[in-house]
Each structure stands twice: as C-alpha cells, then as structure tokens.
Amino acid sequence: MGIFLKDINLKDKTALITGATKGLGRGAAKAIAQVGGNIIAIGRNQSELNSLGKELRKFKINYIAFNCDVNDYEKLKSFITKLKKIDILVNNAGTNLPESFLNVKKSSMEILLDVNTKAVFNVAQLCANQMIKLKRKNCSIINISSIFGLVAGQKRTVYSMTKFGVEGLTKGMALDLAKYNIRVNSVCPNIVLTPRTKKYFADKKYNKYVKENTPINKVVTVSDVATSITFLASEASSMITGSSIVIDGGWTAK
C-alpha cells in the first residue's frame, strides 16, 4: 500500500467462480490466485476442475472444486450455504447460441435465459446471502456481462436480452447490498478469444466484423478481462459499485 496507490492484493480472501474451468472463468481463477486469493471453482467437467487445481498449485492457495451445473439450484444451494468463507463471487458461467432473431429456436432461447439470467441471479443471491450470514467484510461480486449488455450485435438478440438483464441486475444488487458493504459490478468485454468464441473467429467475415468495430486494433485477451475482474475484486476499487468496466477497445464508445 502506497500513499495514494492501493495494492491489488487478495490474500485471505476467498473467491467463488462459476464456469471456472474454461475461458474467462479459468483466467479469473488464475489471476485471482496470482494475487493470493483462495479459489472455489464450480464447473461441470471433473477432469478440467482437476487440471485447474493442478495449475493453481504454484500459487500456494486453497483450492476447492465443486462439480455442479449452475442450473441445479438445490445442489448449488446445499453447497453454498455450507461455505465457511466467501468474499468474492465471479459470476461467470454463461453461454451463447447465435441465431438471427426471426430464426431463434424456442429451445435456444430457453437455454440462454436459464444459464445467463436465471442461474446468474440464483448464484448471486445464494452467495450474497452467505456473505451476509458469515459477516464477511468488504465483499465484491463481479457479474460477467458483455458489450452486448450495452449495445446490440448481429445474431445476438437473446444474448443481448440476457446481458442487458445482467447489467440491470448488477445495478439493482449494488443498491440492495451497499449497506452490507458488498460491492457489485460487471465487466463488459468485447468478443474475447476463448474456446467458445474460437469457432466464431474461424469465420473470416466475423473476424473482419470484430476488427472493424474495435478502434484499438487488437482482440481482447482473457488476461485483459481477468485483470479488470481482479481489480474489482480487490479493495483497490473499494468505492466502485453498481458500475461496469467496459473492456472493448472502444467498440461501445461510438
């Protein structure tokens, strides 16, 4: 801690991360562990949960893995309500099934709403209640949103509906949880190169579309997003709540 520059340090903090084995979730786990935070990883793939644990070993933090689908409310609830420590939630699990509006299947619409909206709400509510019950101090919740939580994109109607929803939820939660000193923010990345988006980038037209819309001519990396998540998780951002850190190389500034 300097005179005016606060440390980004998560020693003695415990972060629960959903969708922790891949993409942004995995990046967030590594970044948080790197600055000393303990990790509770939730994912659906046991071997990936194990490999994440192995990867985090070098940071000498506590690692708990829980194999669970975020749509399984009862299983989640019995796990979260038994936690002894939780200071940070990275509410990350989410998915996308791009389809043009007129052709959106009912099944895809429901999957996206269940994962990106309902499960996001449920995880946040369970974790917030547990943080309050445990009387943890200086908690932080980070919802993983998207630039499509702020603007529209091609074949992103349902995704935008869910992510605009996450933006609204973030602000509402921030107000309700402020009195417990639980801060709530979102990060809104541009399209990040992750296992899920790899297939989008394989399409040349899509690649061009992303580049043309990103004034800073680079693709956002997992590390870019994980760094902002870590900043929001730490007390370096202790007056930031109800807001969104937009990591989009200028996409939404227009």
Binding site: F4, A174, L175, N217, T227, T230, I240, I247, G250, T252
Partner: protein, 254 residues
Amino acid sequence: MFKKIDLKNKTALVTGAGKGLGKACAIALAEAGAKVVIISRTKSDLDKVSKIIKKTKGSSLSFVCDVTNLNEFEKVLKKISRLDILVNNAGNNRPEHFTKVSQENMNYLTDLNMKAAFNVAQLCSQKMVKAKNRKKIGGSIIHMSSQLGRVGCEGRNVYNMNKFGLEGLSRGMAFELAQYNIRVNTVCPTFVETPMVKKFFKNKKFKNKMLKNIPLGRVAKESDVATAVAFLAADSSEMITGTSMMVDGGWTAQ
C-alpha cells in the same frame, strides 16, 4: 494472467497537481514507477508534492503554469522530452442555482473545465503521437470527469455542462487516437474529500443530503480515485478505451 499496475519507463503529466485529486494522482503514478511532470499555478504546492514523491523514491519535474494560458503550457511541453500518460485533471466548481449563475462564473468554469481541458489534451496528444514507438508501447489519457458528467445535481448546472462535455470529448478522442494505440478514458468520482469538496461540505445539510445519495454511505478517498487513474494509465487496462470508470459508491446506479 494478472497484469499489475506498472508504470516503469513511462512519463506522465498531471495538471492541477498541486492539490486534491491531481496531487493524489501524481503521487500514485510515481508510486507505480512513472516519472511524473507536475503542473500547477502555485509553486509552494508543487514543492510539497515533489517532496513527497522524492520521499517515495519517485521522480518528478515541476512547472508553474496556468493551463488556461495556452502559450505558457506549450512552453512547458517543449521542455519535456517524452510523454506517455496525461492526467487531464485541472478543474474547478462554483455551485450556483441555474437562474443565478453569473456570466463571470460561467465563463471562468467553462474556460477552465472545457477549453483548457481540450487544449491540454490536444497539445499533449500531438506530442504523444510523435513518438516513433507509440503504436508499440501505447499511451493513455485520463480525463478527470465526475459523476456529474453522467447525471444532474442541484446547483451544478455549469459543472454538469462542462463534465458531460468532457465525457463527449473523451469518447471522440478515443476514436481518433486509437490508431496510435493511445487510449482515452475518464474517471467519474463521487464527492471526494479534497480541499474543494471540504468547502462545500461545511454546509452540513448539503453534506448529509449528498451522503444519502451514495449507496455505500461514504465519500471517496483521494486514493480510490488515484488508484483508478493508475489502473487506466497502465497496461493493466490495455483494451479499455472510450469508457468512464465510475468511482461513485453507486451514485449513478440509481
């Protein structure tokens, strides 16, 4: 994975660096390793800031200059060899009810908060783009905006006009400077305990009313804002441009 706030080998210029947020930013940037060029109208203030920076083993160069004097500021820029970061901070406020705002105050605030902010940003940008390796190493401009650059507030109409304007300038600049890998963002604090705000808070009724609007129930510390500025100055935020970082305890989330 986590990109720490590291400003080694960077030169940062801070206007209004003698007091309040400017002083805090200058010291925080120095603590993160930057060489800091500090500008203020008051030599004794600059001397105090230099002393603190020296104590933290940082390096600074100070110039007495009124930023509303374009020629004077140009001369200062000629004296420094390089520039990677600008904290465009100098600003002021004279709260008055809209119907009673005097011409004198409107002109004074607009000349300082908008015209001088534009001129300083333009001159610094011109210097920054000249560096041959700019595209590779990037650059960062941070405008000191306010939550009142996003929402209205009683007796703040001119300040609102100025800071909303600064938000617009910031987004426009972000577009035009992206090709040089210069990022442009604002920081929007709520009330911070600075000498300027302390004056307003002598009115207890006003203070309590304002505190009620901050969900976290506290004013920001100078270090909260300075840390956000340092984060935006560093490569930690290398894909963040054209955005505003709200350091407002939830004020604008409502």
